[in-house]
């Protein structure tokens, strides 16, 4: 019995201790359930996201670039179907064998093969290596025929940029190509949407409008396992094509410009004087942007780069030229506005004028005799403008020049390579060259030589603003949401000037008129410098001003020799310039023409204006019919 008692006592201890443990068990279970609750209920969202991140992998495909059209809706930068060949390394059984087969089938070079091997090392095994970006149809068919033997090879039909007008628009549009590290680092959007094989804008509008044009990636979603192998295709999300952008340019005018400047270095720009729309903007010579799409060959690149006419420079925007006599309308206007002269002010031209012992020559050695303002403009008498520039002073001249857009970028941020040019004054020289202004410099500034540097588009804008009666316009190359017809723009322009005095560039409307008349005389009256290029038909009749910009100082000896143009070395020949607007009676368009080393403006540049105005004015009817257009996003 004692034994049994002991046993019962023992059982009591066991039971008691059991229940202490039991209580602990309950607590621990509650703790575990709490943890389960916090993971599965409270943080469910977080872990669901993480689990999706684990299992869903996205394959981005190159986005489809928006197209660019001209004013009439013709595609000038579009997309073209191309056939490509990709290798997906993880699917390849024997990489060397595959490369050998491809090398044989497509005649790949050794360099290409080593490039493929290089990119294989860089990419993840499920990312595709692009073997060929642009297969010909026959190559594509060949590969498809041998596909059974080419495990891991994927023929792909994709879309590539295409410039149907080849070199006509190169300096406006720029071109696209493979992005380099800088392109990717500098643009957040490219960074986000980058996929191998994608092209981005390298130059021109293609570059500056990149974020509008780029479009969003097509996305393929796959479920993958822990080793990155694709298990399921979940969805295909179509990306959005980039915005379609409509430019203000007219392909026909652009083409004619290219034709006129063929074989020469130079630039033609045409602008609507009310809306500020750039109708044409061509820099010659140009080059074919399609060459850059799949990587330009070294030979072709060398050919472009070493061309003495410098096709890579966009002369319209970044070519800096002395305006020569084309500045004279501004000098005359400035003198009138500042009441230095009146239209009857006369100067006697003897072919040269002397100042502090220095001789300043007029282009006409014999002199023009006594000339009035109108005559001086018409015959482009330098002596007259030396005189009024002297009376006016460079500082007052600069104020007028600045109002008309000289020394400032015309299209602003749209072109990275646009130069702002320079119009000097006394303080500029003091600050930048550290020397005082010399009166002689005022004189040569008055005939558009010296420090003054302008881009062809600035001269075009300047002329447009004289032509529209002296109102400031905002030049543009992209048609925005609500394009104004020129009538509306004209009305707007005048109303605006009543509210905002700065948009009116004159003090007295009369002065503009006087300058316009002088430009008319220069083209349409006997003795005018561009008289030979005139059009008598009032429908096309235009008014203009020639300019001949010296590239280097003419020595006394050369002046005496009076060489013909083909006797001077090319690089020493004068630049030929011409600015004009028309039709004279009811002006609509302004243009500027520059032919590098073309000799005199009246011989080399003005005749082009005649052909241009014919076309531009004929097309004006069409242009006005098409003021609106669908889907413009900028």
């Amino acid at each position: 019995m004692i034994k049994e008692n002991l046993s019962i006592r023992k059982a009591d201890i066991i039971n008691r201790r059991m229940f202490i443990i039991g209580a602990a068990k309950v607590l621990i279970f509650v703790g575990i359930i709490g943890r389960l609750f916090s993971l599965q209920i409270n943080e469910n969202k977080k872990y669901l996201t993480l689990s999706d991140k684990n299992r869903i992998r996205e394959w981005k495909l190159p986005p489809t670039r928006g197209s660019i059209v001209d004013y009439f809706g013709n595609i000038i930068a579009g997309n073209l179907k191309v056939y490509q060949l990709h290798i997906i390394p993880e699917q390849v059984e024997n990489f060397n064998y595959l490369l050998n087969r491809l090398k044989f089938l497509l005649q790949l070079s050794e360099k290409k093969i080593s490039n493929i091997l290089k990119s294989k090392k860089k990419l993840k095994p499920w990312e595709s290596i692009i073997v060929s970006e642009n297969l010909s149809w026959s190559q594509f068919v060949k590969v498809n025929n041998y596909l059974y033997d080419l495990v891991g090879v994927k023929p792909v039909m994709t879309i590539s940029r295409n410039y149907p007008f080849n070199d006509i628009y190169t300096h406006v549009l720029g071109y696209v190509s493979q992005p380099n590290e800088n392109d990717i680092l500098q643009n957040q959007i490219i960074q986000e949407r980058f996929v191998p094989g994608m092209k981005v804008g390298k130059l021109g509008l293609e570059k500056t409008l990149e974020n509008h044009l780029i479009g969003t990636n097509d996305i393929q979603r796959y479920e993958v396992n822990a080793y990155g192998k694709r298990i399921n295709h979940l969805e295909y999300q179509k990306g959005k094509q980039g915005s379609k952008i409509r430019l203000t340019v007219d392909t026909e005018v652009q083409k004619l410009s290219a034709k006129l400047l063929a074989g020469q270095a130079g630039s033609i720009s045409v602008m609507d004087i009310y809306t500020g729309e750039v109708v044409a903007m061509y820099s010659s010579p140009s080059y074919d942007p399609n060459l850059f799409l799949f990587g330009i060959s070294k030979d072709e690149w060398e050919l472009i780069r070493n061309n003495p006419l410098k096709p890579l420079i966009n002369k319209t925007l970044s070519g800096l030229y002395s305006p020569g006599s084309t500045i004279k309308p501004i000098v005359a206007l400035s003198a009138l506005e500042n009441n230095i002269i009146n239209p009857n002010f006369k100067v006697r031209c003897t072919g040269k004028t002397e100042l502090y012992g220095q001789t300043f020559h007029c282009w006409k050695e014999k002199g023009h005799g006594v000339v009035s303002l109108n005559n001086a403009m018409k015959q482009s008498c330098d002596t007259y403008f030396y005189e009024i520039a002297r009376l006016l002073g460079v500082d007052r001249l600069k104020i007028t020049a600045k109002k008309f857009g000289l020394g400032e970028k015309v299209l602003g941020d749209y072109f990275e390579n646009e130069k702002q040019g320079l119009f000097p004054n006394t303080s500029w020289k003091k600050n930048n060259l550290g020397k005082g202004w010399v009166l002689g410099e005022t004189l040569i500034t008055g005939i558009g030589q010296g420090y003054t540097q302008t881009t062809p588009l600035q001269l075009c804008l300047m002329t447009a603003q004289i032509a529209n009666g002296g109102y400031s316009i905002k030049p543009k190359i992209i048609v925005n949401n609500d394009p104004l017809s020129f009538e509306e723009a004209k009305k707007n322009m005048k109303e605006q000037s009543l509210i905002n005095f700065n948009t009116q560039l004159f003090k007295d409307e009369k002065n503009i008129k006087i300058v316009q008349e002088a430009m008319f005389s220069s083209t349409n009256e006997i003795g005018g410098t561009s008289y030979r290029s005139r059009i008598d038909n009032p429908k096309y009749q235009f008014a203009g001003k020639t300019g001949t910009a010296q590239v280097k100082r003419i020595s006394k000896r050369e002046r005496e020799l009076d060489l013909k143009i083909d006797q001077i070395p090319y690089n020493d020949r004068d630049h030929a310039l011409y600015v004009a607007y028309g039709p004279y009676e009811n002006p609509r368009y302004a243009l500027s023409i520059i032919v590098e080393h073309g000799g005199s403006g009246s011989k080399a540049a003005a005749p082009m204006a005649k052909k241009l105005f014919k076309l531009i004015i004929d097309r004006d009817v069409l242009r006005e019919k098409q003021p609106n257009f669908e889907e413009i996003d900028i």
């Binding site: 059991m18 872990y47 993480l50 689990s51």
Partner: protein, 373 residues
């Protein structure tokens, strides 16, 4: 007393059948069915090797459990022999065991590849239950008896640690210590040794193998090496957390299906279950385990024999500890130590041990009126 004994030995087969704990058996069967389905899911929704093998093991070991339950509980008074046989097996393993992934834990018995350390989890309970059953209550706290008891625990632990297998040795230690606790060893002693353990912890850690230290560091901050050491626990938490309230659905657990979960058949089986069946499923599973534990404790309470009490309470506690260690591990509450989830995890030895344990518990139920060996 004499009468009782005679009465018990005269139990007929039908009386025995009648006395089985059917709720416990039902829970075990339920758990077995669930485990087969979960194994089917780990095989990616196909009846492959793991599913088949697990199913066969369950059938065999369940039958074994039922056979054991009809043994007289007295049979287990042979537990010293059982214990020593396992010790011998462990020594055999140490010498001739099968090596896999850096540890030597298995012995090939031709019909089964056995992991004796798993069996020791039961063996230690049996052995100590027997020891304390015999021990007079006054001598429980004597130096000699405590030394003997600790030796019984420490010998297998040393052998298992040498394999090396930290997880199983911890579980063996817990299973043994609980009997000491139930046997009436002074609470003071437990308290003092716990404090001593804490103080010597840094010293112990310095003895750990580099991979074990790494596991502890990883436990403290899984993100320090998300693709290496921390991978398992991060993926496990993602799987469980993404299960949500009702889970992703049977065979739809992406984490396991797409092979983000490591060791999903064995130690991480709960992760897969929880991903597919969610919070509600997990609670359900815990309820089944709770019922099993409660039933075992109830049998212990009913039993008149102290041996049966020791065993039932000890085994209930052991089951509890297995579950807690396993769940805490997959939930990121404890460092990763290898420890299977009873019945659910793939693995013959673990299931064999568990089923033997259930068998003995059922036998204790049948013979609960019996007081003494």
């Amino acid at each position: 007393m004499f009468q009782h004994k005679r009465f018990n030995s005269e139990l007929t087969f039908f009386q025995k059948v009648k006395d089985l704990d059917y709720i416990l058996i039902l829970c075990i069967v339920l758990l077995s069915i669930i485990s087969v389905f979960v194994m089917y899911s780990t095989d990616g929704g196909e009846i492959l090797y793991h599913t088949k093998s697990h199913f066969i093991k369950i059938l065999v070991f369940f039958t074994l459990m039922m056979v054991i339950s009809f043994f007289n509980i007295k049979f287990w008074h042979t537990s010293y022999i059982f214990y020593f046989s396992i010790i011998l097996l462990l020594i055999w393993v140490a010498m001739y065991g099968i090596k896999a992934s850096g540890s030597q834990r298995w012995v090939d018995l031709y019909f089964i590849v056995l992991q004796p350390s798993e069996l020791m989890k039961i063996g230690i309970i049996l052995c100590l239950a027997k020891y304390y059953h015999r021990l007079k209550i006054d001598s429980v706290n004597s130096l000699l008896s405590i030394t003997v008891a600790l030796t019984i625990i420490i010998i297998p632990i040393i052998l298992v640690l040498a394999q090396p297998d930290l997880g199983t040795s911890i579980l063996i230690a817990f299973s043994g210590l609980i009997i000491l606790w139930l046997g009436g060893v002074k609470i003071k002693y437990f308290f003092v040794s716990f404090i001593t353990f804490l103080i010597s912890l840094p010293f112990i850690i310095s003895f750990l193998k580099p991979y074990q230290k790494l596991r502890i560091l990883t436990f403290l901050d899984p993100d320090r090496d998300p693709l290496g050491a921390g991978y398992q626990i991060i993926q496990s938490k993602i799987a469980i957390g993404s299960g949500g309230l009702s889970g992703k659905g049977f065979l739809k657990g992406t984490q396991s299906y797409l092979e983000f979960l490591p060791e999903k058949h064995t130690d991480f089986i709960f992760t897969l279950f929880s991903e597919e069946f969610g919070f509600l499923g997990s609670i359900g599973l815990l309820i089944i385990y709770t019922i099993i534990i409660v039933r075992i404790i109830r049998i212990g309470v009913l039993s008149r024999s102290n041996f049966a009490k020791f065993f039932c309470f000890g085994f209930a506690f052991a089951i509890f500890i297995y579950i807690v260690v396993n769940l805490s591990m997959v939930l990121g509450l404890l460092p990763i130590v290898g420890s299977p989830l009873p019945i659910m995890s793939y693995g013959g030895s673990s299931m064999l041990a568990t089923m033997i344990g259930f068998g003995i518990v059922l036998s204790a139920k049948i013979n609960h009126r019996q007081t003494i060996a």
